[in-house]
Symmetry: C2
DNA sequence: CAGGTTAGTGACAGCGACTGCCAATTGACA
DNA sequence: TGTCAATTGGCAGTCGCTGTCACTAACCTG
């Protein structure tokens, strides 16, 4: 069980997190100062930095949770599944269980709105892409292990994950700029785009559709 | 022709650029202050900011040139070439002509060393990935136009460019961590990895090679 | 080539993110 | 209840970056 001190700490941390995301999504990331976040929770600026490494850190606190869940989901996929299929299934699964992963800390709706803010803020978009790259490295290792190849010398796990990640980013971007910011929306968009990769790579697009 | 004022400006700018890259690659990006760069060229800190928007801006000044050259090279490719092929050829071409593109401003060797610094510095890596994403958007539009599809509704140009970009980033990363930091090295590595994408995506790796 | 115009510069003040340090407070536990 | 350790606030300082203003050097015109 939890001591009073621990309860207070958790409360402060979560209050800071919620206040930060609320401010970021409403008045913008750059326009929000650390002092404002701290003031909203009635702690000193110094205390904010004891809970989060910086402005960027608090912005991605929730993303960190969902990312970790995704990597674990890939690891948990049945061993006979082909790499690309495992990535795809784990990812869609991640969106199915997003409520349970996130809601204990912040409302899912706030989490989803944050995606838009990230996409619209150059500094955050950059950080997001770097975080994605780091995640891809972890995923490549998982795939390499699943398939019994050497992650350091065989480029195929990394290439596969890079292609998958590329599609995911196209999907995210499209979703962020659409007006339907719902979980179902990104789920179906992801599935659709993953299906289209094959035909996109063959070239010769002139005959057919644009979704 | 060039007036005295313009000559002085160009000289100041290029001196700042060279000094910055030299400092970044030797003592590290984070460890280098703007004051040091300005001092090395004997101008005020304020003057530095009149030539470059910030620390990040000067770090990518040369990359900006090569990127622009790459996008143009894709645009200049024969219209009958398949999208993926056009990207590949333009990219390899870019490395063939890198000397002519860069050497007038900084030594190629310094430009290449800068890649390692970018890869090793989280803040720069993030910025690099965001810049790549922006470049991919431009490339997608070029491909869409070449193939006569609508860049806004048809996902295939963006998907193709995302896959290509993904492979390029895997390649860059591998190259940066290798000990052969030469133009030939990244050229051949790129070609090899692009060739492997197809077989990587089919799954079923157990039979064959790791490069 | 004298004199006014303009571009480029340096110095200074100030903001926001972030860190180190020390003193005060508050919960934990004997 | 008193002691100890964890948590906090305040303060000073660094670095990236911006606005302002006066000053100088280059340009141009007569």
């Amino acid at each position: 069980m939890e001591t009073l001190r621990e309860r207070k700490k958790r409360h402060t941390r979560e209050s800071l997190l919620r206040a930060a995301l609320e401010l970021f999504t409403t008045k913008g990331y750059e326009q929000t100062t650390i002092d404002e976040i701290a003031e909203a929770v009635d702690v000193s600026q110094r205390t904010f930095f004891r809970y989060f490494a910086g402005k960027e850190d608090v912005a991605f606190a929730v993303q960190r949770m969902t990312e970790a869940a995704f990597v674990e989901a890939v690891r948990a996929r049945p061993a006979h599944e082909a790499p690309m299929k495992a990535l795809r299934q784990a990812f869609l699964e991640g969106w199915d269980t997003i409520r349970g992963t996130v809601e204990s800390v912040v409302p899912v709706e706030l989490y989803l709105r944050m995606y838009r803010t990230i996409d619209a803020t150059p500094a955050l978009l950059a950080a997001h892409l770097r975080r994605s790259a780091a995640a891809e490295e972890a995923l490549a290792r998982v795939l390499a292990e699943r398939e019994g190849v050497d992650a350091d010398t065989d480029p195929r796990p990394r290439l596969t994950v890079a292609v998958f990640g590329g599609v995911i980013r196209v999907t995210e971007r499209q979703w962020c700029t659409s007006d339907d910011l719902s979980v179902e929306s990104i789920r179906t968009l992801t599935a659709t785009y993953l299906d289209q990769v094959g035909s996109a790579l063959t070239g010769n697009w002139r005959g057919t559709p644009g979704r």
